[in-house]
């Protein structure tokens, strides 16, 4: 799985901690690996047109990548530590910022874990609203990844198109939650706002527009012969490797594993909805793209069903609703916006622990919360899909050509702030 030989060469290449290149140092582009073979070493990032907030140390033998070492952590924001210093509610906006493009999906499992410990359950309408926002977020997250994949092979039209079309979903999310990206919509006990008037018509229009646009995406990008040449049979991840390396999300499903945390955990409104989990067998970069396209279509299907089936009722748990003064309760009913009870600041789950998983656009996110009965968690462990997929940089690039690196990067949809947390 992970070759020991190439890893042992890391220290010999002289870039590790402690090696300082003094000024006036004469440029020597070639390094040597443990066997004495000369390798060309290139640093992709952290300041590089295509690196994102990370660095990939690439060692080349000719045009072939011998080893690519992902060096992450440039946007580490100590989320696990910070969450230990603040109350449960306050961590929601914090975790959101791990994946700002997919903020509903990344905070939902956290809220579910907290709800588990508190023994609260969100009312059905809230579950549907959460599902609605989660799917809107999933589409915009996939479009974001799509755009970056496009620009990684210098296809600027794909980049601009998907960022432009993402705007529609961002706009929908804004009308629902009031914020474009950092919705902070899902809170313990329910959601913060009710469905606004006329939302359904807008969403259906957006869906019809998107369906038409996806056809153009296929023509100009996905089935453009240049793209096919670049993505087909590049970065092939076998089913066994995907499972053993714990790969998640579309990357996993493109390798033929039928797994989705939405099915595994049965949360939200998903058990009541009819949708498919797209799976492809090829495991190459193109399959990863196609799975994402298919997931966008499925998400739109889910949104339609959610809007059709949207049950009536409260959108916030009765347990907390009762803590609000009656005048404010009336205000909530009139405006469709929640008023938080003052006691909400100091939620106090009993001692114990909870785990929760959820499916983000990029894959499965995992939370483990340990409580000692205090108002602040004792330990929150958050494993993001990007962090689980980061190993692919090493695994898929070995033996690939240098120009395949951006393709692989784009196709695994790695999001550095999410990996670094």
């Amino acid at each position: 799985m992970t070759s020991q030989g190439s890893r042992s060469s890391e220290t010999d290449m002289g870039y590790g901690p402690g090696t300082i290149k003094e000024p006036g140092f004469r440029y020597r582009p070639m390094g040597r690996d443990a066997e004495g073979m000369e390798l060309y070493e290139i640093f992709i990032g952290p300041q590089h047109p295509a690196s994102g907030h990370m660095r990939i140390v690439v060692r080349l033998d000719g045009d072939i990548i011998v080893n690519a070492d992902p060096d992450i952590g440039y946007v580490h924001r100590t989320m696990e530590k910070l969450s230990e210093t603040r109350e449960y509610l306050k961590s929601i906006p914090l975790f959101e910022r791990a994946t700002i493009i997919d903020s509903a999906n990344i905070t939902w499992p956290y809220v579910r874990a907290v709800e588990q410990m508190l023994g609260v359950e969100a009312p059905l309408r809230a579950k549907y609203l959460r599902t609605l926002l989660a799917e809107i977020n999933r589409i915009s997250s996939h479009l974001y990844g799509f755009g970056l994949t496009g620009i990684f092979i210098n296809h600027s039209t794909m980049y601009m198109w998907s960022f432009g079309d993402r705007e529609i979903w961002v706009q929908l999310a804004e009308e629902l939650t009031g914020a474009r990206l950092t919705h902070t919509y899902i809170i313990p006990g329910g959601v913060r706002r009710d469905l606004p008037q006329g939302f359904k018509e807008k969403a259906l229009k957006a869906i019809r527009y998107m369906e038409r646009r996806l056809e153009d995406y296929m023509k100009i990008f996905v089935y453009n012969p240049v793209t096919v040449a670049r993505f087909r049979e590049v970065g092939v991840l076998t089913k066994n490797d995907a499972s053993r390396l714990g790969i998640v999300g579309p990357n996993l499903r493109a390798s033929g594993v039928h797994y989705d945390a939405r099915i595994a955990e049965k949360y939200g409104a998903y058990p009541e909805l009819d949708f498919e989990i797209p799976v492809m067998e090829e495991g190459d970069s193109l399959a990863r793209l196609l799975v994402r396209i298919e997931e966008i279509k499925q998400s739109m299907r889910i949104i339609k069903q959610v809007l059709d089936k949207m049950p009536q009722g409260p959108f916030f748990a009765d347990k907390y609703m009762r803590l609000i003064p009656p005048a404010l309760r009336k205000h909530v009913a009139e405006t469709g916006r929640i008023k938080l009870p003052g006691a909400f600041i100091r939620l106090k789950p009993p001692a114990g622990e909870a785990v929760a998983r959820g499916e983000m656009g990029h894959g499965e996110v995992f939370y483990h919360i340990v409580s000692t009965g205090d108002t602040k968690p004792y330990r929150v462990r958050i494993i993001t899909p990007a962090f689980r997929n980061v190993v692919l940089f090493r695994h898929l690039t070995r033996g690939a050509r240098f120009m395949d690196l951006p393709v692989i990067y784009g196709s695994i949809d790695y999001f550095p702030p999410e990996g670094d947390r």
Binding site: L94, E167, Q171, K219, N224, L286, L328, K339, I345
Partner: protein, 167 residues
């Protein structure tokens, strides 16, 4: 055989897909819609739902300090100003993340969101809004709009996605 494999194996089919890609490009070259909103000449009307800059209604405030306690970014603090008996909240926009918890937790609706987000200050100090007259309780207005930008309304459209119609 999948479309991708046909493109790879069959040069004629590949040429056809080349032509399809170029035709799509040409179609958009001569099509009408554009996505860009030319800010600041046009300013998007964000609507009452938007979580923008926060405004304090000092007369309603009961100094309960819940807003300052719930603030996850430590942006909102209770300020005791000289000459005032009670403490009032002030906000530091260097830190504010616009989560809106303070607005949601206020038991007397003394805080509210305004549909304005495009504010710039000349210095860092200016981003701290104390509960002084004309500061935290001020009526926000988009500077672009003040300087003659036209307000546009966002509308969903099946053909163009988002339409921005001047009001």
């Amino acid at each position: 055989m999948s479309i991708a494999d046909r493109i790879r194996r069959n040069p004629l089919y590949s040429l056809k897909m080349h032509a399809a890609a170029i035709a799509t490009g040409l179609r958009y070259l001569f099509a009408k819609p554009r996505m860009t909103v030319r800010y600041p000449e046009y300013v998007i009307d964000l609507g009452r739902n938007y979580r923008g800059m926060i405004r304090l209604h000092k007369d309603k405030c009961i100094s309960c300090s819940l807003c300052a306690q719930v603030c996850p970014a430590s942006a909102m603090k209770m300020y005791k100003l000289p000459g005032e008996k009670k403490m009032y909240p002030g906000i530091n926009y260097q830190r504010c993340i616009f989560c809106g918890f303070c607005v949601d937790i206020c038991p007397v609706n003394a805080l509210e969101h305004t549909p304005v987000h495009d504010i710039a200050e000349e210095d860092m100090e200016g981003m701290i809004y104390l509960p002084l007259p004309g500061r935290f309780d001020r009526e926000w207005k988009s500077p672009a709009e003040e300087e003659g930008g036209r307000k546009v309304k966002v509308e969903f459209d099946e053909e163009e996605g988002l339409k921005h119609e001047p009001e």
